[in-house]
Symmetry: C2
Subunit: 233 residues, 2 copies
C-alpha cells in the first residue's frame, strides 16, 4: 500500500479522504495485485491514505524512505509499554515509532484527522505528535492496529535528563525502578525538586514555546483530550 | 458583529467553528451591547465568524476596511439578478459583492466551509469565489441571508470582451438583449465563433491555469457542484 501510493498522481486532500479505508487482501499464494508469501492469508488496511500522505509530505518524509524504513529492516521492540498496554517498536534507522492501538483509539484518531489537518496548516510549530500513518493488519481473525509516529527521542540527540510533565502533582514522581535506569524519565514532582530554578529560555523562545503550547492546548481541549505529557529533555 | 470580531484575540480556527452561528438582537431602543436605531427591532446572525475571519485574513482583507466598505457607505444595487433570483449589490468602493441567497444555499455554503478551508490551504491559486462572510438579518418575521464575496470585475480592470463559459454548447449564446449592452457578457457559442484561435497564453501560465482549473474541478466534484462558470475577460 505504501508503495502503490507513491506512484499515484498527486492531488489535493478532500474532506472525504479522512474517512477512506483502503483494504488489500494478501492471499498466501499471491494475486494479481500482491506477491506470494509464506505467512497465512492476511488483509492490510490503510486508513485515510491520501490524508496521511499529505501529512508525511508536510513533515518532509519521502515515500520511498518511509517504505524502506518500515519494511526493509526489522523493527526493534521497545520494553516500555506505557500505561495503555500498547506495544512500541522503533524502526532500525531510529526515525519512526510504531505503536499498537486499540480499535477505539484508531477510530478516535481517524475522527481527529480533519482538525489535525487544520492545526498543521495554522500552527506549524505545533508540539503535538507527528502522525505518519494508521494501519490495520487482519490475520487469523485478529486485528492489529498500528500507528506510525515520529521518534521524539532519536539517539543522535544526547539527553542529559528527561522529564515527562503533565502539570499535575498527584502521584507524579518517578518510581524507584524507573530511577535505576541509565536515563530515567522523571516526572513533575522530581522536576519541582531537582530543577528549582526551572529552565532558562531566551525571551523570544520562551514566548514562542508558550504560544505554541497554548494553541496546542486549545486544540486538545476542542478534541476533549486531557491525557497529554510535555516531554522535556 | 464585524466590529466586535476585530477586537477579539486571534486564535486558530477549530473544526467546530464552521458550525457556529453568532446571533445578536438589535432592539429599536438599544441594549447594553447594541446602539438604539430608528428601524424596527432586528436580529443579525453571523455564520462561522471565526472561520470567515480566517478566510478574510488569508485574502488580505483588514477587519476595519471590511467593516468600513460594507457599513459606512450606501451599497449600489446591480441590475443583473442572474438566473437564481438573487439580488446583487456592490460596495461603493468597488471591492465587495453582496448577494442575497436562499436558506438552502446558505446552509449548503456553510456545509462546504471545512472543504473550502482545505482547498485554500492547498491550492492558493484557486479560481473559486472568495467568500468573505455569510450573514442573516431577521426582521419583521423575514430572513434575509447575504453572502459577501470578492468583486471579480472591479472597474479598474478595463474589460475588452467578457465571456461566461460553462463548457457547454447547449443554449450558450448571449441573448440579443445582452448584446445591446456596452460590455455584453458573451457565452460559449459566441466564444467559439468570435475567438476561433482561442486565447494565447505563455507555456507556464497555460499549465498553471490548467492545473488550477483541474484542482478546482476536483473540489467542485467532491461537493457535487456542477453549476459553475469560468469568467474570461
Amino acid at each position: 500500500t505504501v508503495g502503490s501510493l507513491s506512484q499515484k498522481p498527486e492531488r489535493d486532500v478532500l474532506l472525504q479522504d479522512f474517512e477512506v479505508v483502503e483494504s488489500i487482501f494478501f492471499p498466501n499464494e499471491g494475486s494479481n495485485l500482491t506477491p506470494a508469501h509464506h505467512y497465512g492469508d492476511f488483509r492490510f488496511k490503510t486508513y485515510a491514505p491520501v490524508a496521511f500522505r499529505y501529512f508525511r509530505e508536510l513533515f518532509g518524509i519521502r515515500p520511498d524512505d518511509y517504505m524502506y524504513s518500515l519494511c526493509n529492516e526489522s523493527l526493534i521492540e521497545l520494553s516500555s509499554s506505557g500505561a495503555s498496554g500498547s506495544l512500541f517498536y522503533l524502526s532500525s534507522d531510529d526515525e519512526f515509532i510504531i505503536k499498537t492501538v486499540q480499535h477505539k483509539e484508531a477510530e478516535f484518531l481517524q475522527k481527529l484527522l480533519p482538525g489535525y489537518f487544520m492545526n498543521l496548516n495554522q500552527n506549524r510549530r505545533t508540539l503535538l505528535p507527528k502522525f505518519y500513518g494508521l494501519y490495520c493488519v487482519q490475520a487469523a481473525g485478529k486485528n492489529i492496529r498500528i500507528v506510525v509516529m515520529n521518534n521524539l527521542l532519536p539517539s543522535t540527540v544526547q539527553m542529559h535528563q528527561k522529564f515527562d510533565l503533565k502539570g499535575s502533582t498527584y502521584k507524579r514522581r518517578a518510581s524507584p525502578k524507573e530511577k535505576e535506569k541509565t536515563v530515567p524519565t522523571y516526572k513533575d514532582l522530581d522536576f519541582i525538586q531537582d530543577m528549582q530554578e526551572g529552565i532558562l529560555l531566551e525571551g523570544d523562545k520562551y514566548s514562542a514555546v508558550c504560544k505554541t503550547i497554548q494553541r496546542d492546548c486549545l486544540l486538545l481541549q476542542s478534541f476533549k483530550i486531557m491525557d497529554y505529557s510535555l516531554l522535556v529533555g
